[in-house]
Structure formats: C-alpha cells, structure tokens
Symmetry: C2
Subunit: 296 residues, 2 copies
C-alpha cells in the first residue's frame, strides 16, 4: 500500500491534478458524448517480458485503447490504468507507468487515476480510455450497406509477421516487429473520417481481418466473403496471406462508405495517403463479397 | 475470440444497447461532472476461487468501485468490466459476468462494455466505474481542518475477521465472512453526505483505518495519531484491535466536518443511524489526535 502511495505521488505531479482521491473528477462535458473503452493486456497472452520493454508495453497498452476510440470517431482525452504487478517485476512496472505518462503526453491524453496491485506471478495492465465526440461524428459498426466500399486504413498482417519473428526467432523486417510491439492507433485518421458524413460505419482491426470483417458485416446483418486472390495482390512485402487474414494487432481501421461517397473521398489526397487497400461490399443472396478494389 | 463474441452477445441484450462497438457512447453529460474510478481484483491476492462464489466475486468487484464513487459523493451510473480468464475457470467467469449484470441492475448502474481475454492461470477482474455529481456535491480527501470531527460511517475490522476465518478456518461470525465476501458500498450514505455543505472531506476505508486515516490527514497536510483505547471501546463483538486498525475491505466511509457542523449533523436521525463511531480531530503540534467521540 505504502509503495502504491509512493508510485501515486510520483504520477500525481504529472497528472494535471486528477490523481489523489478515490476517483477522478472530469470537467462537465459540453455538448459532446463521452466515449468509453477498455482493453486488457496479460503477460504470456498478449506480451512477453522477454521481448517487450516497459516502454513498448506502455505504448501498446495505450494505443490498443486509443484505436478503439479512433474507430468510433472520438478524440481521446483521458485514461485510467490498472496494473497488477508481481514482486520480481516491480522495477519493470514502475518504468512502464512512467513510460505510460510519456506516451499519454505524446498522444495528448491525461492519466487521471487507476489502481496498482500485487500479482502472484504475471503482470497485467488494464486501461480504460475516455474520449469525446459530437453525436454526428460518432461512427458505429452497424451502418454498412450493400454496395458500400470498405477502405482498410493501414496495413494488415505486419504485426503478426513481427510476432512470428519474435516467438520463433525468424528473420522478419524490423518494421514488422515494431508494428507488433508499438502499434500506432490511427487517431487522426479515425477522427477525420468520423467527420465525413459519407462514412457509414467504422471499426478497428484488432483480432484480424477475417474476424473483424465478419463482425462488421454481421453488425449490418449480412454475411461476408473475402476474396483472397485480390487480398494477396495488395499485401506488404513478405506478409503471408495467413498473417493478413488471421493475424491481428495491426490496428488498421475498416471504414465503409457508398460508392458515390467513395468517389468524393478518393478525390481528397489526404484520403488516399491513408488507405492501404480498398475492399468493396456487394450483396449476393445473403452474402457480402469483400475484395480489394484498389491499393496505394 | 468467437467465444468472446458469444459472451458479448449474451451481455448485450442486458446492457441497454451500449455493448457491440469498439467503445460505448454515453449520453451528453448535463451540468454534472463525470467521476471515474478503477479497481482490480486479482485471484490469490484479493480473492480465492475456493471460497468466493462467482456471485460473491461479481458483487465485490462492483462494490469496491461503487465505494470509491460514494466516497466522492457521486451517484454511480456506468461500469466497464475487463476479465482475464484461465481456461479451467471458463464457466466460473461466465457465471461471474452474468452475476455482475444482476448486481449492476440491483445497484442501478449499467454495464456498458469491456474486454474478456484469456489468462495463463489466474482470474483477474478489472472494473472502471463512472458516476456523476454536481461540483458542489463532490467531496475530496483534502478538506479536513484541525478541530474537525471524523465520522466513521460503517464498521471497521469485520471484513478482516471474516478473511482470517476463511483463510485459517477459524470460527468467526457468518456476518463477518459475508462482509468480506460481499461488502456493501455506502452509496446512499456517500451521496447524502456529499450534499451536506458541512462535510469538509470524505474517503472510503479500503486499506484499513490506520492507512486510510493517515492518507486523509496527509491530504490535509497534517499528521494523524490514533487513540487505540477509545477505538477498542467501540468495536463490534469479537473484532480485534488489529483487525480494526490494519484490516481493510469493510468499505466504511471517513467523513470530516467542523464540530459546529457536527452538532447540526447529529440532529438528523438519519445521520445517527449511519454512524458507527465518531472520531475527533484535534491539532496538537504537528499531529492530529483521532479518537472515538461517540458511538451508536
């Protein structure tokens, strides 16, 4: 407990006055909706101490949450962080929390509180992130319509290649290892896209393209079919089809819009620079066919 | 992942439409401040599967968070829940999440989202709770002044007696075991007290009277001395002084007010029915003496 107090005192000075009570008091929320998400990272499930530095872990724990807010079109503002820390990882955990404060500053969010506790053997970090968005800028999963175009903002499969490299000591590009260790949430992109009325739905790709496209389609009460030949043609170098389809953790965004809307979208140079691949949704019986329409 | 989807689908129908996207969208927040807290419970640190039913765990994970909001004077509204679940505890975890939904309904809060993930061996549950309060009703830790009275709302030491009973198979009153397994957050009391202008500071007793009184005093930039003789005279039957001073998890509230304010407070019958023991703060050099002023 007293050790917790020390840690809290160290964090307090960098928390804009939020930390120190039983709970954190946020400003009264104007006309925007608070948007809330939570993701856990568990040692030996999501990360290994062997190859994650405390800085990597802090960055990733933050960005997997920021990615969820970005996928809703919300601007991240605050996080609360819980950390369960085994004795032998005390220094690691302290360093991780300090890095988290830095990562927050870089991302423009404030660490407003949390909980540090002991753990019998493994480290766990749990972050809840709070963002804000006007109701007209919020995007849900369920809006995709037959005929819509699906844009993939970012690459898929790279993080999984990086994971395989780390786990099986295979040679893979350093950039892919970095993608796995320190994914960058597409916050600017998500917020920018949320403000475009032509965007009909949005979500992030955290569990892999196959699972997450399926979720997107099911949310719109459709079925999804993925055209793997077209996907293969648009992958980053050395990225296997398996990694692209089933590997998660790249934190790309899936964004749907009508074909007419897409024509407008495609005119914006900024839009093109964000897109890695573009899929199209077609209705065929009960199914939606998803295939690559255009790459960078 | 797919198992997670099933679980989420089951919870969604009972979540007032919040669950199903990357993040939950809350209503625009009127003129009240959102108040946010987070507490983790780790298997074999905070609970054991051996004697915690899934219902107990759900109740406790919720109420330790509600207690933090109560201590700020905030009315709880929403929670997000993260659970890390080892394979052999899948059924236990599912039952725990279902119980959590029931416990939320009972407490008038809504489960709006979260994260379920695997865990190598131990279960962990992490809840973030969000409440609301007008700025004039929020109470912080730091407001206590020399001469203030400290009221302890609720008992101290009972939960620790219960824990000792469970861990060492000692005979202790069943009520104390229940206190440890299913503490009741003092939500009504906290909200009621937050609305009294005479209350100068408030916090909950989660880590034990000694540690938490010290925190309260330090927040007001004082030191605290506890009069153990007076404390002993006001304990519940069979509760040891050690349990009362060092045992935590009763989730009583510590509330400070001026002596004049206390006279008004004491006139309210409701106030008396909430108080278990009343301590008084006196300044003596650098120290605050805390002693029992009056019991029920």
């Amino acid at each position: 407990m007293i050790q917790e107090d020390k840690l809290i005192a160290a964090l307090r000075s960098r928390s804009a006055g939020f930390i120190g009570d039983d709970a954190a008091v946020l400003p009264v929320g104007m006309d925007k909706h608070p948007v809330v998400t939570k993701d856990l990272l568990v040692e030996d499930i999501h990360f290994r101490i062997r190859y994650f530095t405390p800085q990597d872990l802090a960055h990733k724990a933050l960005h997997v949450n920021l990615s969820d807010l970005a996928a809703m079109g919300a601007t991240p503002s605050y996080i609360v962080c819980g950390i369960a820390l085994p004795t032998h990882l005390h220094d690691y955990g302290e360093s991780c929390l300090q890095s988290l404060v830095c990562a927050c500053q870089k991302a423009g969010v404030i660490l407003i509180g949390g909980d540090t506790t002991a753990s019998p053997d493994r480290l766990l970090i749990s972050i809840t992130a709070i963002g804000y968005a006007s109701s007209s800028h919020i995007r849900y999963r369920c809006g995709a319509k037959a005929g819509d175009v699906v844009c993939v903002i970012g690459d898929v499969g790279c993080a999984h290649m990086g994971l395989v490299g780390l786990e099986q000591s295979q040679r893979v590009p350093q950039a892919y290892i970095q993608r796995f260790l320190r994914p960058e949430a597409k916050v600017k992109e998500g917020v920018w896209l949320g403000r475009k009325p032509l965007v009909t739905s949005m979500m992030d790709v955290s569990d892999g393209l196959y699972i997450d496209l399926k979720r997107l389609a099911l949310s719109a009460q459709k079925h999804a079919v993925l055209d793997v030949d077209l996907l293969s043609a648009h992958l980053m170098p050395e990225v296997s089809l398996l990694s692209a389809v089933e590997g998660g953790e790249d934190y790309a965004l899936l964004v749907t819009m009508s074909r007419e809307g897409f024509a407008t979208f495609a005119k914006a140079r900024k839009a093109w620079s964000m897109c890695r691949a573009i899929l199209r949704i077609l209705e065929k019986g009960n199914a939606i066919l998803l295939f690559i329409y255009c790459g960078l």
